[in-house]
Symmetry: C2
Subunit: 422 residues, 2 copies
Amino acid sequence: MTEELVKAVPNLKVSEDPDNGAMNVDAPEDANDVVNPWTVQTTNDKGIDYDKLIEKFGSQKIDPALLERMEKLTGVPVHHLLRRGVFFSHRDMGVILNQVEKGKPFYLYTGRGPSNTLHIGHLIPFMFTKWLQDTFDVPLVIQLTDDEKFLWKDLKKDDAKRLAFENARDIIAMGFDVNKTFIFSDFQHIGGAFYENMVTVMKHVTFNQVKGIFGFNDSSNIGKIMFPAVQATPAFSSSFPSIFGGKKDVPCLIPCAIDQDPYFRMTRDVAPTLKFRKPALLHSTFIPALQGAQTKMSASDENTSIYVSDTPKQIKNKINKYAYSGGGDTIEEHRANGGNCDVDISYQYLTFFLEDDARLEQIRQDYSSGKLLTGELKQILVETVTPLVMAIQEKRKTITDDMVKEFMRPRPMTTKNFTTPT
Amino acid sequence: MTEELVKAVPNLKVSEDPDNGAMNVDAPEDANDVVNPWTVQTTNDKGIDYDKLIEKFGSQKIDPALLERMEKLTGVPVHHLLRRGVFFSHRDMGVILNQVEKGKPFYLYTGRGPSNTLHIGHLIPFMFTKWLQDTFDVPLVIQLTDDEKFLWKDLKKDDAKRLAFENARDIIAMGFDVNKTFIFSDFQHIGGAFYENMVTVMKHVTFNQVKGIFGFNDSSNIGKIMFPAVQATPAFSSSFPSIFGGKKDVPCLIPCAIDQDPYFRMTRDVAPTLKFRKPALLHSTFIPALQGAQTKMSASDENTSIYVSDTPKQIKNKINKYAYSGGGDTIEEHRANGGNCDVDISYQYLTFFLEDDARLEQIRQDYSSGKLLTGELKQILVETVTPLVMAIQEKRKTITDDMVKEFMRPRPMTTKNFTTPT
């Protein structure tokens, strides 16, 4: 029996409630690990085998040489999610760095399938994307796929649109700069140059191809079948004339969880035919559910994750009560044998949210040796996550509808490394 | 071997050059008559068997009682294309007339797949639609499917868009009233409420359904697969908030050639699920090629039809040289046996373009009896068609880009029987 992971480094879309009935209809039945935009499953108790995934997907491992080159080019240390291998795989990151080396621009694209509440896993790609934007000082487009949520889930259109707006507010609360960031909802924005590129992509992709890549079948609705074109379109700069003034050759870098790679394999396959540039990618692993790397996330069980709307008390309770422990059964046993960081969820979460490498290493040693108890480790996680969530809640209160609308208005952009052509 | 007819009452799309290679890829291989949006074929030398088609499609025959009811309600004689059975089939025309009887509004929807030049067959649905609009005084939306042309044919996007604009000019030249007519190009207009309805339709139609209806297969591109939703969308009034102010319940009447019915069978099937009204339809037959009811139209042979850009001399030459004659081989034989109006193309064309019923009947008798010679009949056709084409050419010269743009601007409308809700 396969188990589903919480996909908490959530990719460009589906996330905290992969309503199995509706969403797995189109998922291909494969052996062992299953990773696609709708399903992430493994039978391995250590979670997904990411090295195998790299082999299967045909992407590249992010190696020390690549990180070194990034540090040399930017003059700053790489983000801890890169250092720790959360972002572990890529496509063409070298092409992007060549571009930077030549003083030429690129842009960033990421996104989200609107949902009721973000959980802390959802913060990861945006934290990372913000770091990329700050470090490279380039434009960023964020796609909110309200149309996709409507196509895949039992959700009213107005609700999907409302969630897109509310999620935009959450994302803005993470500190994005309006001068460099364009957030758009598909329902609101599709049309014009975007729709034209979308139709171009659709013309060059057959049902056979999407069937193979996404596991669609004859019962899939025709909206789902065409949807991969919607997700491919933001990867081409000519889809955003307000930002790129019709330029077709600004390369795009997409940070996302590895389950979204199928969309961009398709995008990269079709790009040369269209004389567009292939987007580059940075792939991340998934953050496990509180209950452990193998536990099944459930839409009806909000205790499987921590939401950005949770109170400090809720955060503390969830971690203390549910975070799977790799420690001994008794204090005596733990002191004698130490804890297992490989399966301990509190430790795993700290690798995502605790930036200080030295302190993280100390915690690892202390927990492994039995010096640090599970309760103490959980307390460290509470103290790490709570201020992070509170900061977003505070910031969110200050974000007015007009601010959200400004982010969502198509407009020219200027960054240190990019200016909208006139 | 099957032969292809000129589809000169051309439906909502494909028209003078059904590039077989590209367009028939998806056509279902069926016995005898084949009628779908991309192929019209028959082995019958009198052309398509329309009664069989009504049976196959499950539509209704337009009968004298329906025409009588129309005349009673409108106080004017029905159009000659109705009297002569060119528009021969319908769906729910009674529902539209009920609406009129109650003093409630409906609207008209027709369209065209942009192409280089209109031929006289293309004029038929627009002439008829204009009569419907004048008679019922209701809003009309005209869809120019530049996206579809791009998806199906070897045509650049800019060319498809340019052709849409030029065809809008041709259509306007037929005398449409800007106060009641909204012409839109898909590339320009899709987005907003239109895109939302499109996605709604797509959500409720599976690949299985479009495969069955349109004969798509695994090699069809995903744009084609979703395209039926694009053609369905204008049939729902909420797709045009500028005209209908978000009202969902204004019924739609679609005059079109019978080959377009598959799109609207699908549209009518999905409408109740979406709580939209089913569109009503008026179906027309096809106008044959100059060379006869069975001859194959060829994109490379412009002598198969008369274009609205032809000079009087070209029109005269084409008719004299190519119009298939049902007359005797010699004058003597013709005088003795008479001509056969059932296969004579000049006579057939007159049924489309000569409004005077009494004169048409006289011509029929004289030709059948041998009193009227083929040359004389051809001369009558020349004299009927030439002024019609010349009038459009004259009018076309007066239509500025700004006038076209005004037609294509989303805006409120007021007619005697309709006012945009505020």
